[in-house]
């Protein structure tokens, strides 16, 4: 679909080698290396303060890393930027900003428009059809502070989808959303996977990992393990990741893992 992918037909969507991030000499992400396989839904999990968001941001160059390399489809992030979509944490922006849902989604196209070109009818149509996809078409003209948390999250997802990327980074998209939104996000992840896209999701709810994700990365400053969910999402490795902060509780006769 892209020139570059023809040049590197076998290049992984994301290859991170030895990335280290430090805030004032204190390492928050230490020597992390992993490779994501194409067309998978990948959960990045770990306790609070494990550096999940930081790892995501360092991969995107949003926080400086003191060591390590990132390769996206076999090339640098700078060159492959247009193939990457990013969904930041919902709290990272001011929802009182004077704008509506449709306008926020259109911002996803700004990267494609270049320096001077303004968003026009094509961008508007694309944004509108993407809002439809996330079940938010009726709220297109709604001021963003008038949306519920789940609706805001769906607007953020739509903004990333409209980028038409191949590799998506999502920072806690399930945090504080309603059941309808959670379902909408899951349906969307399924569609992305079916279209051969790769999605890396910072995830908190351990009870849904096996249901939602093919692949997991377990992080606690260092990478504890990475691999397919069946072989990597095991009680032993989870204990290693969460330390004493993990409890295994049994409810409705079914075992569930509760992080913190």
């Amino acid at each position: 679909m892209n020139k570059q992918s023809e040049q590197h037909p076998s290049a992984a969507p994301l290859k991170v080698s030895g990335i280290t991030v430090a805030y004032q000499k204190k390492a928050v992400v230490e020597n992390v290396s992993f490779t994501l396989p194409e067309g998978r839904l990948v959960a990045l999990i770990g306790p609070n303060g494990a550096g999940k968001s930081t790892l995501l941001k360092a991969t995107l160059g949003l926080v400086p890393s003191i060591a390590g390399e990132v390769s996206i489809y076999g090339d640098t992030y700078k060159k492959m930027r247009s193939r990457v979509g990013y969904v930041p944490q919902r709290e990272s922006v001011d929802w009182d900003f004077p704008t509506d849902a449709l306008d926020v989604v259109m911002m996803g196209r700004y990267g494609h428009l270049g320096w001077i070109k303004r968003p026009g009818r094509r961008e508007k149509e694309l944004a509108m059809s993407t809002l439809e996809k996330v079940g938010m078409a009726d709220f297109a003209q709604r001021q963003i502070s008038q949306l519920s948390g789940g609706q805001q999250q769906r607007v953020f997802l739509a903004r990333a989808l409209v980028q038409e990327a191949d590799l998506y980074f999502m920072d806690e998209p399930f945090a504080g959303v309603d059941a309808a939104t959670e379902k909408a996000i899951i349906a969307l992840l399924g569609e992305l996977k079916a279209a051969g896209k790769t999605v890396l999701v910072v995830h908190h709810d351990l009870s849904t990992v096996e249901e939602y994700f093919d692949h997991v990365l377990l992080l606690n400053k260092k990478l504890i393990a990475a691999g397919p969910t069946e072989t990597t999402f095991t009680p032993e490795l989870l204990h290693e990741t969460y330390g004493g902060k993990l409890a295994i509780v049994s409810s409705n006769g079914r075992e569930a893992l509760v992080g913190e």
Binding site: K57, L60, S92, Q163
Partner: protein, 291 residues
């Protein structure tokens, strides 16, 4: 004719400030605007000393350089762990003090009155004219403000989408490949230019009012950024013209009247805005209680 130049100056100040103010308050940087408007003083003084004239280009350059230095110093202090309000307070008062020192030490070389620095005197604008090759080109302040407003309209017109996304979601903007830092400094550079060109007309204190009050008024009245900028400029221009007329009737400070009118418009918006207004909120609460 005098009235015309004064009103034109006031309208230019209001327009430039009202546009930039929208971005400042949305980025929660209203106080940085305050800081810049004071910290450009040493830039003006140094430009005076170096060029030995009231040459506008030197003043614009010197002041803009100091405006950007202010922003850079504030950020440096913040990243080294100081609170952001403390960083702003330290940098701008220190630079303003340097400016005051430079002016008082070189009083015989610098034709700048410190009262004028703080409060401005827009009534003098028509007399301070720019002569080019012996020809009278009109008031210097009008030229400086005109250039500043042209730069603002040009940059905002070309890069509106970048300024908007950098204000709403800088992380997303950076991930899209938009040079967030460049647009940050462009905005700050424009604020510095505006601060220095408004300096002699409205002074270092009242320019902050023109930066923040019309934009805050517009913020209460709309949910769209484009409309907010338009309303902000409208509020600024209405304040400028009616402020001038009121000052004429009362025989009071022109800049003081202009900013006072801006304040009255803000209070009206605060009370009457259909979405954010106190009266509408009160009515909604009553309705909810009744239901």
């Amino acid at each position: 004719m005098m009235d015309f130049w004064i009103i034109l100056t006031a309208v230019l100040v209001a327009s430039a400030c009202s546009i930039l103010g929208c971005f400042l308050i949305l980025r929660r940087m209203a106080l940085v605007g305050d800081a810049i408007s004071h910290a450009v003083l040493p830039g003006i003084a140094i430009a005076f000393l170096m060029s030995g004239t009231r040459d506008s280009m030197w003043m614009l350059l010197g002041a803009t350089a100091f405006g950007l230095l202010t922003v850079f110093l504030i950020q440096t202090l913040q990243t080294s762990g100081l609170q952001s309000d403390a960083s702003i307070g330290i940098v701008f008062t220190a630079l303003f003090a340097v400016g005051v020192l430079l002016i008082s030490l070189n009083a015989q070389h610098i034709d700048l009155d410190l009262d004028c620095v703080l409060f401005g005197e827009i009534a003098y604008v028509p007399w301070d004219t720019w002569t080019l090759g012996g020809a009278d080109m009109g008031p210097r302040a009008v030229w400086m403000l005109g250039i500043t407003l042209t730069v603002i309209l040009l940059l905002m017109g070309l890069f509106y989408k970048q300024f908007k996304i950098c204000a709403f979601d800088p992380a997303m903007a950076a991930a899209c490949g938009i040079p967030v830092l460049l647009f940050h400094y462009l905005l700050m550079g424009m604020v510095s230019m505006t601060a220095v060109s408004s300096f002699e007309s409205v002074g270092a204190i009242l320019v902050v009012g023109m930066l923040i009050i019309p934009a805050a008024t517009a913020y209460l009245l709309t949910n769209r950024l484009g409309v907010m900028i338009g309303l902000s400029v409208a509020a600024g221009i209405v304040s400028a013209i009616s402020g001038y007329l009121i000052s004429y009737l009362l025989d009071a400070s022109i800049a003081g009247c202009i900013v006072s009118v801006a304040g009255i418009l803000f209070i009206l918006a605060l009370l009457l805005s259909p979405s954010h207004g106190l009266i509408a909120k009160f009515a909604r609460r009553r309705e909810a209680q009744a239901a």
